[in-house]
Structures are given as structure tokens and as C-alpha cells.
């Protein structure tokens, strides 16, 4: 068995993990599983793609940075895309989720997110058709790094980017007042309100972080695989599995869960075949639910 699966797994795991951070935050702070999270990913990616094309139309062809497959337009577009996805999440919360949440019916919110997911995805399909597209069609040469492993410059960059983002979110959650407010709200909503935490602003920050990271994960998929309207929906099960495996509410857990699932998927692709890949997250999910439903770093519900 070639060790190449480690690189593939880490990359898939990064995409899953970045998405799972959003899932785990919405789950622990807003207390519902957001089935539209995958579609934030797809919307962010298409928004980024649109901005890249717009920049391309304005300034013409831009040379890629060093050995990478993309130039500065993609980086600018990614930032705009992140902002756009965060706004989309905030907007959806304002018109839909917040109203249903105020009625106190948690499971209705889940159902609404399911309906929103269908609508968002179909709108993408309507606007961009279901044909896959790419940020760049250039083929990168993978460099051998020993042990039979090969890695492309894009892949190294994206792994580093993931590490920086995860570290950043972790510091935000543990070292800043906003982050501590978020933790307080997830641990005991009633008590958090009593001590005067501004719930509305915590909810906003939750959506902004979740949306922005979903966009990054989507763009990673876009750079390394392809862009399709279904790209986010197909990530939904791995993201949920990663969030539950890591323990709901835990950011390091979500990332570690994502990496475990990514590695398991890559291993399964090599051993069994690519067509069974999607079953891996289901098997891991069921195993966690049977053996340790609170996940690796979870806390018991009080």
C-alpha cells in the first residue's frame, strides 16, 4: 500500500475539517444541525469563481505566483468570497432560521435548513448549470518527497492555509472575549444571558466564522478537484460525521475528526475502491454513535 494516501487524506481531511468547524459551531451555539452548510460551501466557491472571472476580464491574464496554479486574483477573490458567504449565512439566518428559532422549535429549524439547502443548490444549478468547472485547467507536476509520496505546490499551500486558519479560529475561541462568550453560550445559554452576554452578536460571529470557513473549504475543493453545484451537498455527511466524531462544540475535535475521516476515506479508496468512499463517513458515524456518542472531545449534555 503506497503512502500517498496520507497526503490525499490530509487534504480531504482539511476540507472536511474546515467545513466541520462551521457545523459544530452552529450545532453547539444555535443548537441545530444545519443541512444548508454544504451549500454555503458551494455558493462561496461559485462567488469566488465569479470574482476571479471578473478580475480576469478587467486586468487580463495574470501570471500565477511561483509554482502555484493561481495568481493574486484568486486570493483577492477568496477574501471577497468569504465575506459573501458570511453575508449569505447571516441573511439566511435573518429571514429564516432566527424567526423559527424564536418559536422554540429546534427540529423545525433543521427541516427549514433542509429546504433552504435544496433551494440554494438548485439556484446554483439554474445559474451555472450542473456542468463541472475549474479555477485552472493547468496540470501541476507533483514533487516526490520520499517514501513514495508526491505532493504539488498547491497542495502544500492549502495544507498550510488550513493550519493557519484552524490555529486562528482556535485562538479566537480561547483567547478573546468573543470566543469566550461563544463558549459560554454553547455550554449554558440561560446562564450566558443572565451574565449579560450579547446573544445576537455571538450568533452573528458564529455565522461569519462558519460561512467564511465553508467558503475556504469549497475553494480548496475547487482548486484540487472541481466545482459543481453538488460539491457541498456531497460533503455534508463527512462534515457531520467529523463534527460528531470530534465532539460537538469542539474546534480541535472537528478538525481532528475531519482529518481522521479524510485519512480513512483515502485509505478506503486505495484498499476497496473509490466508489465506496462515501460509505466511510457513515460507518465512522455509526461507530461513534454506538461507542462514544459524545465524541472525542465532547462534554456530556447537562
Amino acid at each position: 500500500m503506497s503512502l500517498q494516501f496520507i497526503v490525499d487524506g490530509l487534504l480531504t481531511g482539511s476540507m472536511i475539517g474546515l467545513g466541520a468547524i462551521g457545523v459544530t459551531l452552529t450545532y453547539s451555539i444555535l443548537r441545530f444541525s444545519n443541512f444548508a452548510h454544504g451549500d454555503f460551501m458551494a455558493w462561496g466557491t461559485y462567488a469566488t469563481l465569479a470574482v476571479v472571472s471578473a478580475i480576469g476580464a478587467m486586468v487580463g491574464k495574470v501570471a500565477p505566483i511561483g509554482p502555484l496554479s493561481f495568481g493574486w486574483p484568486l486570493i483577492v477573490a477568496l477574501v471577497i468570497g468569504m465575506a459573501f458567504t458570511a453575508l449569505l449565512a447571516l441573511l439566511l439566518d435573518k429571514v429564516l432560521f432566527a424567526r423559527l428559532r424564536s418559536q422554540g422549535q429546534a427540529i423545525i429549524v433543521v427541516m427549514a435548513s433542509f429546504g433552504a439547502s435544496m433551494a440554494l443548490r438548485s439556484l446554483l444549478e439554474f445559474t451555472f448549470t450542473s456542468r463541472p468547472t475549474y479555477f485552472s485547467r493547468a496540470i501541476q507536476i507533483a514533487m516526490p518527497v520520499g517514501f513514495g509520496i508526491r505532493i504539488t505546490p498547491d497542495q502544500i499551500t492549502l495544507l498550510l492555509l488550513t493550519a493557519v486558519l484552524v490555529l486562528g479560529v482556535h485562538l479566537l475561541m480561547t483567547r478573546t472575549q468573543t470566543g469566550r462568550s461563544m463558549q459560554a453560550l454553547s455550554q449554558n445559554a440561560a446562564l450566558a444571558r443572565i451574565v449579560g452576554i450579547d446573544v445576537a452578536s455571538v450568533v452573528r460571529v458564529t455565522w461569519i466564522i462558519g460561512g467564511a470557513l465553508a467558503c475556504v473549504a469549497g475553494v480548496m475543493i475547487g482548486i484540487l478537484v472541481q466545482i459543481r453545484p453538488f460539491m457541498g451537498f456531497d460533503m455534508l455527511l463527512p462534515m457531520f460525521a467529523a463534527a460528531i466524531l470530534g465532539g460537538i462544540g469542539s474546534i480541535p475535535g472537528a478538525v481532528l475528526g475531519g482529518l481522521i475521516i479524510g485519512l480513512a476515506e483515502a485509505g478506503a479508496v486505495q484498499l476497496i475502491g473509490a466508489e465506496w468512499r462515501a460509505a466511510v463517513s457513515f460507518i465512522i458515524l455509526m461507530a461513534v454513535l454506538f461507542v462514544r456518542p459524545i465524541g472525542l472531545f465532547g462534554v456530556r449534555e447537562r
Binding site: 443541512f35 427540529i107 433543521v110 435544496m118 438548485s122 444549478e125
Partner: protein
Amino acid sequence: MDLLGYGAFFLTTALIFSLVTLGLNLQWGLTGLFNVGLAGFVAIGAYTSALLTTPDDVARLGGFDLPIVVGWLGAMAVGGIAAALTGMATLRLRSDYLAITTFGVAVVVQLVALNAQRLTGGPFGIGFIPRPFGSLAETPLLFNLSNLAVVCAVTLIAYLALEHLSRSPWGRVLKALREDERAAISLGKSARFYRVQAFAVGGAIMALAGALQAHFTGFIAPDNYLPILTFQVWVMLIVGGSGSNLGAVIGSILVWAIWAGSGTLTSVLFPPEQQARAAALQIAAIGVMLCVILLIRPNGLFGDRPRRPWFGKRAKAAAAKSNSQS
């Protein structure tokens, strides 16, 4: 004459949908269990019945050539067992976990249908599924009407059985659990056991609907059981009003009429190369419709009473609130 034939065909499809919706109403409307993978259970039923009743096929397992009724019973059994296992794994946990797990079940069933060629025929599906009135196929009208009669009969039986169940002591326990879990448990009712039962019976009904559909069209393929099916049935239940069996049936017919009507409209209005995009717009419109109904009329057309959550801190908060008010 053609119109009558189309009417019969339309009603048959709508009633098969309403059978799935009845199953979902038992799980969600009566018991409060959230199933977002019902397409998987419908598929399990369709494939089970197809395997049991088709003539022998060397390319895949079985083709056992059994009578159609055996296929339907087998479909219900397998669908019920699959639902019971899903329920046992997740019903002791938060209700969201059931939603995520059923979502996973649908994904895995779709994978098996696509990839386990020896079992399911892979992407090309299974053909030559015997039809109840195959000998009448030369006269389409008679064929359609006899199919409609069968589907009508099955739906009516399921409807009456479910109405009876929801009024029986068993149904009263489910309602009690949904409304006030702690009170029901204090009376010695095992919440998890009753919920697993309701989830299994609902799954069996969905599987039966899948089997009916398979024998009605004579051909099944993995594409029939995509998440869009789950979504359609949810809209049907919400429009009809969850909790009401009559609402489930009428909601199904209504939503299917809207769906089929808007489908016909787009195929007339849009040129062929734009059809796929128009279909996407149709789905988006229905998705928005679901959200709007949830916002402005969460009880649908026939839903009767306000629903209360039965789990977690919010339920406790809601219970505390209603206690202090009374």
C-alpha cells in the same frame, strides 16, 4: 379517453407518494422523529421486492420469481428492520442525530444501489419487474385503471390501519411521549422502545410504497431515489399538515399536482436545451415554498395542534414556561 388514462396514471403516482407520506406522518407527525433519508427506505423496499419477484437473472443475485405479494411483504419486513436498526442506534441520543443518521442511510443505500452490481444491477437498475396486471398492458386505459384500483386499495388499508393505530392505546402512548416525555415515562412507558416501533412501522410503510412503485413502472434505477424524493415527501407532509393522516394524503395529491403541472409548464415554455435549468428552478421554488409554509403556517392545511419539542433544554424551558402560565 387519453385524459382519463392520464388521470388514472397521475392519481396512481400521487397515491404512492401519499403512502410514503403516511409513513413519514407516523414517524414525524405522530412521534416527532425526524427522517431525512426516507428515499433510502423507499429504495430498500423497491429493490427488495424487485429481487424477490423478478425472473432468474444470471448477472446478479436472485431473481427468485416469487409472487408479487411475497415481494411486498418482504419489502415491508426489510424496510422495517432497516428502520428499527437506525432507530436503535440513534433514538437514545439527541434528535438531530437521528436526522444525520437517516441522511447517511440514504447516502449508503444510494451507493449500494449504484455500485453493488451483483445485488442491484448497478446504475442500469432492475428491469422486467412483474406488474400486477401485466396481461392488460395492451389496453393502456384498463391497465392504468386496474393499477389505480390496487394502489387505492393499499393506500386505503394503510390509511385505515394508521387511523386505528393512532387512536389505539399504542398511538396514545406515542402522542403522550411527543407531548410530554417525562409524564409518559413516569407512567412506565419506555420512550425509546415505543419510538423504535413507530420508526420501524413507518419505514415498513415507506418500503411498501417503494415496492408498489417498482411493480407499477416495472423498472427501477438508483436515480429514482435521490434526495429530491425525500424533499418532495417532506413538502407533501408539511403542506398537508403533520399529524393528520388525511392531510398527508391530500397534501401528497396537491403537491404532486403542483409538481407535475409545473413540470409540464416548463417543458412547454422552455426549449429542450434549457430543460435541466428549468427543472432546477422548479426545485428551488418548491424549497422556498417549504420554508415559507414553515414560517407562516407551520401546521399546514390539516395540522391540528401546536407542536412542542420533546428533547433538550428548550423542551424543559418550554415546559417551565407553560407550567408557570397555568
